[in-house]
């Protein structure tokens, strides 16, 4: 029979060995398979966050799984047997080590997460009406492009305040230029999720929820409502496009022409549009 400390040493060696192999593999390869991709700077940032999280999680996960396997192989007895185990009530050193180790991981992880969160753009998340972490001009040097996203049951429409407040049912964005989404709603709570860009922001009635992203790669991206908003919530989806600045200029000019006739019926551009409160009673 092995001694208690020899047993512990052997288990730790197995775990450290497995971690030494798996953790670098996760760190290196997770980034290339983890969604949501690299179409927006926010999305790329989230890939990094998920990779770091997975790297830290790997040894923790392996610790418990290896432990379970080791214990059940080494220490089980038949159901028909009823031998007693050792009478051990705890181990001060091991308990303290565990607490300190988990606290150290916590401090490191929280520091990393918080830094990532307060960096300009705040990882593409909705930051409310007064963003703590606004994002400056993108690599193209063009000024920030404000785009309003209006959720209503059950579709998104988009207004471009710097282009006369034109409202269109299509979302088209120029590449490499910072986009400032102003997300709001006309009725209930929706959530604007531009998946490929890595942007998600709730659309609250009467609230201007601001989120930033720099689209980095041309192509289409999925848009979905990510907050249950009633009957046709499942059908509240859309496809956005990232195009060259020239195509964008052509497109927006076309939209302005196309929607000029209905423009006079629209309310003037505003950060929020409060409808008459919907009342059930009275």
């Amino acid at each position: 029979v092995r001694g208690a400390s020899a047993e512990l040493r052997r288990f730790l060696l197995i775990w450290l060995g497995l971690s030494a192999v798996c953790t670098p593999l996760v760190a290196i390869f997770a980034g290339s398979i983890v969604p949501p991709g690299d179409q927006g700077d926010a999305a790329s940032g989230q890939v990094l966050d998920l990779t770091v999280g997975s790297t830290v999680a790997t040894p923790v996960f392996l610790l418990i799984v290896t432990f379970l396997a080791y214990t059940l192989v080494r220490f089980r007895q038949k159901e028909s047997e009823i031998a007693e185990g050792p009478r051990v009530y705890g181990h001060r050193g091991l308990q303290m080590t565990w607490i300190l180790a988990s606290a150290a991981i916590l401090v490191g992880l929280v520091a990393f997460d918080v830094v990532r969160l307060v960096l300009p753009g705040a990882a593409g998340s909705g930051q409310g009406p007064t963003p703590l972490s606004p994002l400056g001009a993108g690599p193209s040097g063009a000024p920030v492009l404000p785009v309003q996203v209006i959720g209503q049951q059950w579709q998104f429409t988009y207004r471009y305040p710097t282009y006369g407040g034109v409202e269109t049912p299509r979302l088209v964005l120029p590449v490499d230029r910072t986009v400032e989404f102003h997300v709001t709603s006309l009725d209930v709570i929706h959530a604007f999720w531009a998946y490929g860009l890595g942007v998600k922001a709730d659309a609250n009635p009467g609230v201007d929820n601001i989120a930033y992203v720099i689209p980095r790669r041309m192509g289409t991206f999925a848009i979905r409502c990510a907050e249950l908003c009633g009957l046709w919530h499942g059908y509240m989806f859309d496809t956005g496009r990232v195009v060259t600045p020239t195509s964008f200029a052509t497109w927006i000019a076309g939209e302005q022409r196309l929607f000029a006739p209905i423009k006079r019926d629209l309310p003037p551009y505003s950060r929020t549009y409060l409808p008459q409160p919907r009342r059930r009673a009275g």
Binding site: L8, F61, G85, R87, L117, G128, K200, L231
Partner: protein
Amino acid sequence: MSAAIRRVAGFNLLTAAVLAIGGYVLGRVVGAGIHPPSLGYVEETGENDLGLVLGYLLGVVGFFAGLGAFNYPVARMLGGPPSLPESEEGGVGDKGVARYFRFTPNHKVVGMQYLVGVGVFFFFAGVNAMLIRTALLHPRETFLSPNSYLTVVGLHGSMMMGTMTSAVLGPFANYFVPLLIGARRSAFPRLEACSFWVLVAAEVILGTSVALGGFQTGWTGYAPLSIQGSYGIDAYLCFFALVGVSMTLLGLNLTATVVTMRAPEVSWSRLPIFVWSVVTTAAMMVLAAPVLTVALILVLLDRTAQTSFFINGAGGSSYLFENLFWFFGHPEVYLLALPGMGILLELLPVFTRKPLWGYRVAVSGMVGIALLSFTVWQHHLFVSGMSSDVRPFYVLSTEAISIPTGLVFVCAIGTLWRGKARLTVPMLFCLAWLFNFLIGGVTGVYLADAPADTTEHGSFFVLAHFHYTIMGALIFTFFAAIYYWVPKMTGRTLNQRLGKVHFWLMFLAFNSTFMPMFVLGLLGMPRRVIEYPARFQFLNDWSTVSAYVLGLSLLLFLVNAVYSLLIARTPAEENPWYSRSLEWQTASPPPAINFEGRPLIGTLYDYGVPPLGERA
């Protein structure tokens, strides 16, 4: 009154149903009087929400009057003796099967009522889960309309959340806490009985929502969506408000029982770890559940009395509802986690033949979880547009819960280390907790990381995460508790071989069902949608087929329970697990007064061979 009349009209389920319907009709009439049919919205929609809500309210009052819940307080108020079938001993004189269908203030009866009740509600909620998975076999809507689909989603979520919170505390804490602390009854037996019957009334009301057009809000019922919908939402709101009442009463009684009813030898440091998990959960329930009830009453007022608590731009705020709801809702998920941890740590010593490793560390972990759980709720609002200045705090507080949770883990693995593990059915379910909660916990850290949460928020990733922590952890330990304690409660035992098949089928199917959902979420599938891109179909179908196997494993359990307990009536051994815990010192099932004479309270977790030097 003759005995025959008494039997029919004497405060049973029949009188309760009659008075409930009477109360309901009265409420509808009063409501129609206050909001006449000529009133604008009543005329437009043909719906009178005030009448319906008053109907539910008075219906519940009538139900309780019919059950005889008011007999005792009214008799005592008027200075009379306690009325039958009650007695000062907490209904211990009441015998026979009929007491299980009555308002019986006896902790063992209420425990059995909860066990069967929770089982029935779990079954219906599970059927809804099967419907959801079936609808998701195909990327477009098939046999369920969007309204039916959302109603089924809402029913599944509401019933699971409303019932599973009481899944351990209702049956096992009510039944075993008095036994584990050497008490003859609980502190407030009538509140205890109330908590069960309120839950029954609530579930019946939720059921009526199906006939009233369903509800489209999911279990979270966010305003202003919940203010907008029709009749079905009133049923959902009344259901959940009553669940809040039930949880509050359940928590109150259990907290008071542990604080005041312990035998003199049972000091706080000799409390079994399961009782610690119960008292921390119960105390959290008392603090969190009333907030839910209040929030839902405010929504009901918005719908009926023209208030505007949650209407932006009319003096209210939709954020207020989200905050109130999650101030309850986040402690809620730890209300679901802690009892499972308690069962895990209570059973591991029995099946490793070792004392619990690090008892005080485990207690600290549970208390730490309970305290921290009230500081994390805004992580549900990370992308809502809440003040971005406070988000770092919620990242910290949420990730900090991993420390007390880690303490529970270290005590579990410390107990397993060098123990003599016997892989009985309850032990298998406990070991599954370690694996499932590990995945649930690790993915919880991903969600607590606000930047990464941008993609995960509101997606299938969240769905998979909380099914790992609730079904993978709580429900697995719930079954551990059933296999472990039902022999004690009934004197009969479940078939162990079928139990093992049930375990392996359930464990594999569970992981196979929910693992793909993490991937679906990261690939961009939001929750509660009936439509999804065709490229997600393979993973969804995989998940659905696995869910059918999962459902099959639960049916297998049902067959086992019905066969072993009702048909074969396999008698249980006196102490089938060789447990040294207090509840196994008395007969199975325990006598009406729990212990004949004073129980012998020995050392806690008296297992294992002492080291050589200490041997006599």
